[in-house]
């Protein structure tokens, strides 16, 4: 009966919108997370405190230092003193990098020989170190290009990142945040909404009414699917208009992919709710499954770097597929002709999870 379903959905919305905690989960968390990731957790590295050991003291060496600082990625914190001092600063953390230019730098350049400079980077944070080295490479390349009137032959490796030309981590993060948040919000809402009925005892009153399991499950998922769409929209708008993340692909495709993805997350939420008796248990369980999903999605660590066995595990991770789809749509403008395997995987997993949840629900509530 459509009437019953409608009333069930209205009830869910009333309950969610009246609960300040839930409102926080729906709107507060996505906004805050996006802003936090957008500003603070950016892996773009700027202002690396750099100790310069310039033994050449020539106009050319000063020019190289200027090239480093003007890039915005490096900030000179010490220009005097020798290697010992620089090393000490690296040790106590007051410098993140050391730029060493030996005597003869200018001479080499003038003589058309390869001039050597050394950059020592604090490798404790391997991610940052990697990024810093990439920046340094680009700066020195540009510098040599300007010095040399004409390339003196030989092989020259040119780095260029496509799709995210400035290697802005923000562009990379926003799609990830969408995928992560939609999962978190919808899994929490669905599992809590069902478990709350059990915990409070209202489920008894529902079970003695003529409501069918299908109506119950639809009533418990459709409202949160709608909320999921709203969250996707919210974070996308914030990303596109506030953080200038490009959206190059089809918005319609994005919505369709979101639908398939939501089927998986709502299915997971329902499954959790059939296994838990209290809202607290449900919340613990949500985080228990949520972290592996995020860690094994390729959002934070590249899947290619994982051990082979773990890589297989990522195959059953909806987040992984949705991430590929989102990055494709946002950054590359890819269409369904490329993304269909991921879409199909999500659809299949979503259908399987929802079916399993319905079966389990019938059993546990009987």
């Amino acid at each position: 009966m459509i009437e019953r379903l409608k009333r069930m959905m209205i009830k869910e919305f009333l309950q969610v919108l009246r609960d300040p905690r839930m409102l926080g989960v729906i709107f507060g968390v996505p906004l805050i997370q996006t802003l936090v990731f957008g500003y603070a957790v950016s892996t773009d590295v700027t202002d690396v405190p750099t100790a310069v050991v310039d033994r050449d003291r020539s106009p050319a060496s000063r020019e190289l230092v200027a090239a480093f600082t003007s890039s915005g990625h490096f900030r000179v914190v010490s220009a005097e003193g020798g290697m010992e001092r620089a090393q000490a600063m690296l040790d106590d953390g007051s410098a993140g990098a050391v730029l060493r230019i030996d005597e003869g730098f200018a001479g080499d350049l003038e003589g058309g020989r390869t001039a050597r400079v050394q950059l020592i980077v604090d490798g404790t944070d391997s991610n940052t170190a990697r990024v810093v080295l990439v920046y340094a490479n680009r700066i020195t390349e540009r510098f040599s290009g300007a010095v040399r009137a004409a390339p003196a032959g030989g092989v020259q490796l040119v780095h260029r990142a496509w799709f995210n030309e400035n290697l802005e981590s923000r562009n990379f993060f926003v799609p990830g945040i969408i995928a992560m948040l939609v999962m978190l919000v919808t899994v929490i809402l669905t599992s809590m909404a069902v478990v709350r009925e059990k915990e409070v005892g209202t489920i008894e009153q529902l079970l003695v009414s003529p409501i069918t399991p299908a109506e119950f499950i639809l009533g418990k998922t459709l409202p949160f699917a709608i909320i999921g769409y709203v969250d996707v929209l919210l974070v996308s708008l914030l990303g596109v208009f506030w953080f200038d993340v490009p959206i190059r692909g089809s918005v319609l495709l994005l919505l369709l992919a979101t639908t398939f993805y939501l089927m998986t997350t709502l299915g997971i939420g329902l499954l959790i709710s059939t296994a838990c008796r209290t809202q607290q248990q449900a919340l613990m369980m949500v985080f228990l499954v949520f972290f592996p999903f995020v860690l094994l999605s390729g959002f934070m660590f590249p899947i290619e770097n994982m051990p082979r066995a773990v890589q297989y595990l990522t195959w059953v991770n909806p987040l992984r597929y949705f991430l590929v789809i989102l990055r494709g749509i946002f950054l590359k403008g890819t269409g369904v002709e490329i993304l269909w395997p991921q879409m199909a995987a999500l659809l299949a997993m979503g259908a399987a999870l929802l079916a399993a949840a319905t079966l389990r629900f019938r059993k546990t509530s009987a």
Partner: protein, 309 residues
């Protein structure tokens, strides 16, 4: 009239706990049947079976002739159930709760408007229609729960301890409300741990350890009670040896305020009174009530007798 509720030999075990052990009873339309028993007697289990929430391990349950656990039989339209625990949405208002349950049973807008207005009026909840259910007092909450269970005019109403946690005045209200619907032909099964509420029912069944000890009309049951009841006040060290010496003649002893309520075999009553008085205790005869009946039956462990006959 043929019964609309029939429990036949219900048996149910939770792990090591035998909750029901061959419970049988039947209720006719227009009858108010009380399931009376102490905590853990098995009342809730019995009602949950009748509501179709549990499938009994032994025996069978029938409501309006149908299996209550069969969701497709349409039995749910004829059934109203008010659980012992909280069962309404605390964050929804009184009116929203009513509307939600009305829609679950597919009442039309007009039916909903008429019935909820009437139920709100007789439960005197009109003034609180906009108040969230969790902010209602215990009595008002139970009345609302009852109203929600009554909205779809069930032919059978199952109430699990509706008066628990309700003040005496609201309790009267609740009973009055029930009489009104019973008079219209509804069959009501109500469970209660309060023996003094037995007299409000048309018929009662005394439940003990998952089976019926006794069944009948409450007045007839008490009238057929053959033992005497004494109120005994005095120092424990004087009273206890006397009671002990009386042995099997003392059927049951229960605290009564600062004194004791003693159920004693009728023939032995006069002798015990003398012995107690000699030991320095004040003794007064009491009119037997339902609780004495229950105490006597539970203590004797006697199977359901024909005390009313």
């Amino acid at each position: 009239m043929s019964p609309v509720v029939a429990a036949a030999g219900l048996g149910h075990v939770y792990g090591a706990v035998r909750a029901l052990d061959g419970l049988s009873f039947a209720v006719a339309p227009g009858e108010l049947y009380g399931l009376i028993g102490a905590d853990g007697a098995g009342k809730t289990t019995a009602l949950r079976i009748l509501a179709g929430l549990i499938v009994p391990q032994r025996g069978s349950a029938r409501v309006v002739g149908l299996d209550p656990a069969d969701t497709r039989s349409g039995v749910r339209e004829s059934l109203g159930y008010m659980p012992q625990r909280y069962s309404l949405y605390g964050d929804l208002s009184v009116a929203e709760n009513l509307r939600f349950f009305a829609r679950l049973f597919c009442l039309s807008r007009r039916e909903y408007a008429e019935r909820s207005a009437r139920l709100l009026a007789i439960t005197r909840l009109e003034k609180f229609a906009g108040r969230p259910a969790e902010q209602l007092s215990g009595g008002m909450y139970k009345k609302l729960a009852l109203a929600c269970a009554l909205l779809h005019r069930p032919r059978v109403l199952l109430l699990d301890e509706p008066t628990n946690g309700v003040d005496p005045v609201s309790r009267l209200d609740l009973w009055e409300l029930l009489y009104e619907f019973v008079a219209e032909g509804m069959a009501v099964v109500v469970s209660t741990p309060y023996m003094d509420e037995a007299e409000r029912c048309h018929r009662v069944g005394l439940v003990h350890h998952g089976r019926l000890l006794l069944e009948g009309e409450p007045r007839a049951l008490v009238a057929g009670f053959t033992d005497a009841v004494l109120q005994v006040a005095g120092a424990a060290e004087c009273v206890e040896p006397v009671l002990e010496r009386a042995g099997a003649d003392v059927v049951a002893v229960a605290p009564l305020g600062g004194a004791l309520r003693v159920v004693v075999r009728r023939g032995a009553s006069a002798g015990l009174r003398r012995a107690l008085a000699a030991a320095g205790a004040q003794v007064e005869p009491l009119r037997p009530n339902f609780e004495d009946l229950f105490l006597a039956q539970a203590a004797g462990g006697a199977p359901a007798g024909e005390a009313a006959a």
